[in-house]
Symmetry: C2
């Protein structure tokens, strides 16, 4: 075993993907001191996504102050990768950790737009937008406004819409959009299928965790519906039936309508960006994993995304996971996973298991390598 | 993978070793329909040990009524293996399931002796005595009496001692021992090191679970000490410092003193009896396991016993276990284990995990084989 590629998702609530890579590296070198490891921690689109990309590829973390309602400004940041790709995570400028405001009628993505414009101004060649952890429901209007898009009330007055004022948008004028932003290719990491509006839309599904009650959800939903109408009429972009439009309080829709973004499953963006196939070329083994592998995560999430590409290159994949759901083994094998190994070594509940997570992960990886090299020597 | 040998211990409280073999066989044939499996469920010395030997080797289960205090008789049984070895388990004639009597001053191993004498009379070539699950504390005197050994009170009266009357033994006379029993080689499966008497002796350690209180423990212990003295004086056998003499209410000592038994770790007896090394000759893999692999079970229990022999024959061993204790991996590898795999697939407590035990065991075995054959194809 000469080269092992590590490309794990985080174990939510337990270990970041960077931590997992570090633990795996150490375990590998305990058993195989000569092995080369390549760590590609997966950015899951939420808080920490910029760091994950920077860990995998190197690059620069650029900090700047961005606007935030109710405070003067907050410290935002984005990543600039060596190939000129900028990575912006909403959690860094419009996220629940950034704003203390639990009111999706007032929170804004304005700061996200500032980061985006800054990156475009620095000559970024491409932008990756990570949608996780937003506190907003403004359909991306704040971000658009920060980049020059004008939103006009019926009386002609220009304003920056927030969740609570989307219904006041009479017209959207994109003619003033920052030219650097306009020509910047944007790729939005989006792992949910929710539409913009309706029973499974942004407000209904994600409003409550952002602080909305039933009445507010109805108002937010009506606002997003109004926005969709204006986008269609004024920008010629229909987001009504677009899966993922409802991600991040409608930022899915906004990134498409205002910035011409492509919505893609996050893992595909990550694997393209880290040049996964190139890393596979001389690899003997891929280790991936996530906190829980279940029938839900089988649909396009990390393990399966990794396995599909590794299968094409003929490299075996071990999925090291926390919990293994029922009925996932066979579909996972078919996608290209060669084995699924749980880090659960004792029959204890999650609250206890998480305290042992790093040790158990290390022991699981060591054991898998010991077994595999023992069998290889023999077979 | 042409031939796989299955030699698991039971998962205590969850699955018998026979059940484990059945589940493993099915899982193996799902992945490798052509593979030959050899099931050697391990008798752990307790209830079900006779059945485990019969499952592994075939043979006959012989039923007969044996004496029991407070009831007329109970149905006892022993196993007669194809090579003429008889297997007697104490649980079948002096066990907690057999007698309702929770009084180790009155319970007796007499029925065990009847089984032993019956087997000897049928021409058994060897006898394996399984000590687990006894309800007795008579030092094996009952069993000896059933085979012709005479215990005499000070007045010369002959009696059958029980736990409460051991101190009344003035003399032991072995001259009437059934000649068939006398010439029968006896091997006692014994996995504990407790001495006959004292703080870690039979009465002190195992008395409480048989129904003894502190005062009774003191009386039982004094009785066993008296018996040891008589054994030394009248039979010329010193059991005082013999590790394991205190097993099964002193039946460890009794089997040595009255029947010339050899005390051996159970797994060694089992592996010899099932001709484990012969089965290994053309085997590609051994699957073993136990409910919990920990630093305690590393000392001569099933997994390690199996691994040591398989290592000599160069056959890899996978240990499929419930819980994996800390700090067992490296010592297990050194003994010959090539990999340890927990059946825990979800972070749930044992009470929940045990309900999923068979499914989880099957999935774990299937996954291990899938991984191993995938890696073999590649490497």
């Amino acid at each position: 075993m000469k080269k092992i590629v590590l490309v794990p998702d985080s174990f939510k609530g337990t270990m970041s993907s960077e931590t997992i890579c570090t633990v795996m590296e150490r375990a590998i070198h305990t058993r195989l001191p000569e092995a080369q490891t390549v760590s590609l921690p997966v950015a899951d689109g939420g808080e920490g996504s910029v760091d994950a990309f920077l860990t995998a590829l190197g690059g620069e973390k650029i900090f700047l102050q961005v606007a935030e309602p109710d405070v003067d400004a907050v410290d935002g940041f984005y990543g600039l990768l060596p190939d000129g790709t900028a990575v912006v995570e909403m959690a860094a400028a419009a996220g629940l950790p950034q704003t203390k405001l639990r009111d999706p009628e007032r929170t804004t993505t304005y700061g996200v737009g500032e980061l985006l414009a800054h990156a475009a101004g620095r000559g970024a060649k491409k932008l990756i937008l990570c949608l996780g952890g937003s506190a907003t429901n403004d359909g991306g209007c704040g971000a658009a406004a920060a980049c020059g898009v004008r939103f006009l009330r019926a009386g002609g007055e220009c304003f920056v819409p927030v969740g609570g004022t989307l219904r006041e948008i009479a017209r959207v004028d994109i003619s003033n959009l920052d030219p650097a932003v306009r020509k910047l290719p944007v790729e939005t990491m989006c792992d949910i299928d929710n539409p913009l509006c309706g029973d499974s839309g942004a407000a209904a599904i994600f409003g409550p965790q952002k602080g909305a009650d039933a009445a507010m959800i109805a108002r937010l939903d009506a606002g997003l519906a109004c926005l969709a109408e204006r986008m269609e009429r004024d920008l010629g972009v229909s987001v009504r039936d677009l899966p993922g439009a409802g991600a991040a309080g409608g930022m899915g829709a906004g990134s498409v309508a205002f910035f011409g973004a492509a919505l893609r499953p996050g893992i595909e963006t990550v694997l393209d960006t880290v040049h996964f196939e190139e890393q596979l070329r001389d690899a003997d083994l891929v280790l991936t994993g996530e906190g829980k592998l279940d029938t839900q995560s089988l649909r396009g999430r990390v393990v399966i995304g990794v396995a599909r590409r590794a299968k094409k290159c003929g490299v075996p994949v071990a999925a090291i996971v926390g919990d293994i759901g029922d009925d996932v083994q066979q579909p996972a094998y078919e996608a290209g996973v060669s084995g699924i190994f749980s880090t659960n070594r004792l029959a204890v509940p999650y609250e206890q298991a998480r305290l042992r997570a790093e040790t158990d992960l290390a022991a699981t990886v060591e054991n898998l390598l010991y077994w595999t090299t023992a069998m290889r020597r023999r077979l």
